[in-house]
């Protein structure tokens, strides 16, 4: 059975496939893939992926570490879980995608930053406020990655603001220290991606 995020040195002798399985929350069943393609067939964003999920799993099996972690596939995954409920082998595909993202980030393999930086920006918000903060997220993210889209989007943004659907000031939870302590401890414990 898969072990949760053991320190890196403990899993050195695992194959790439075993390592990904071991780093995935829950029981991934990744080794059970029969390469049927249900995932790739179900995926609403497959057209934009470098590899279909099935191909990615074959690459993990073949030990193609660099190619797997550089693939844009997990970043294009929209977490729709269609593949998960249809997978005949009950592979926890979406969670495996999260794992690959994490491994790509920690090994600095994934370079086209839009997706990973969106995640990082989001996480930074949470770590600062305990809540997500859409206005700040949007402006920071779009200024950096889609400056050209901003004028076109301004009307939407103004719409959201005037309809009071986007707060200009973030909300912070009361016991931010508690959350920070928990997250810091969690990061020490799961020193997976560092």
């Amino acid at each position: 059975m898969s072990q949760l995020t053991p320190p890196v040195h403990e899993i050195e002798d695992l194959t790439l496939l075993e390592e990904v399985a071991a780093r995935t929350a829950g029981v991934s069943r990744l080794e059970m893939c029969i390469q049927c393609g249900t995932c790739g067939g179900s995926c609403p964003s497959a057209d934009d992926m470098d590899h279909t999920p099935r191909q990615l799993f074959a690459m993990l099996r073949a030990g193609m570490r660099e190619e797997s972690l550089k693939s844009n596939t997990p970043w294009i995954c929209v977490s729709c879980y269609h593949c998960v409920v249809r997978c005949p082998q009950n592979v926890h595909i979406t969670d495996v995608m999260y794992t690959i993202k994490g491994m790509a980030v920690s090994s600095s393999m994934y370079e086209s930053g839009t997706a990973s930086e969106f995640s990082q920006t989001f996480v930074d918000m949470i770590e600062n406020y305990g809540r997500s903060f859409e206005f700040g997220l949007a402006t920071r993210h779009y200024l950096k990655h889609f400056p050209l889209r901003l004028p076109g989007m301004a009307s939407m943004g103004i719409g959201l603001l005037t309809k009071q659907r986007m707060a200009i000031k973030p909300t912070r939870i009361k016991n931010m220290k508690q959350l920070t302590d928990i997250l810091d401890r969690a990061k020490e414990l799961g020193a997976t991606h560092e």
């Binding site: 829950g26 009307s155 401890r185």
Partner: protein
Amino acid sequence: MSEYIFYPGCSLESSAKSYHDSLNIVCEKVGITLNEIDDWNCCGATEYFGINLTPAYALITRNLALAAEKANGTNTVVAPCSACYLNLAKADYYMREQPKLGTQVNLALEAGGLSYKPGSLEIRHLLDVLIYDIGLDTIKSNVVRPLTGLRVAPYLGCMVPRPDYEKRWSDHEHPVELDLLLEALGAEVIDFPLKTHCCGGHMPHIGPETAYEMLHRLLTSADEHKADIMATVCPMCQMNVDAYQGETNQYFGTNHKMPIVFFTQLIGLAFGATPKELGFGSELVSAKKALAKIGTAPPKTKKTRKSKKKAGLPMPQPLPTGIRINEEEVIR
């Protein structure tokens, strides 16, 4: 009076305020008391898992720990947001499936003086509670302004019916719960084939073209079925379909004008609340025109797939559409 622990989630505080307002009205009418978790934090949406696993689960579980502390007779947490619902449910389920995760998360929670025993809470979506606890009969009995004449596309998106760890829904692809609920309000519910398809998720921020494509599929199908309005259970779906409809139109050169509102807004309307107190008007694609149809006679051109009755070969009967027709329990 049914009491539930309530986890609103970040969206309901800002972009999905109308969801919050309307669900409060609906819950009050049907006798649901929601006790909000004190000082809850963000669930991490779909973003935190990809960055750091243990903190992602610790982040979610802090909420469960806070909720369990004030459980006070009830152990059901209601989450109206799909992503929140899924994340809370997933954390609870995976910590049971893989006890080591639970141990590790609890070690982290300890740093904040908290703890949570996996499995001690039941995490459910608001729609689930309305259908299976309150029941369609109660809903029906509260209807004072039937939504007759309004053609509604029920839209659930992904994270409510899937992955469905606890087998709470009638189907993963074509669940009937939302349809039945909207029918109970008197609305004309279209057989929306994409009701559990993706709205694009976080793609508007990452690869907008991918998102436009998905939104285009949804809008085209809803238009083809002559829907007046879409009703959703998910703040992200609402945001994407509503806020990025303009960009999608630009990208494809189309002219979709499909309003999308929260299902609780429609329930509230049928229950007699005013559009204003339900948060109508905050949608970017206005629902005004659609709402004007309430009470009017349904249009003559009634074209749904089911109505094709021609001399030909008999169609198989669909599986009985009773709610929750899941697999028989297997002893193991």
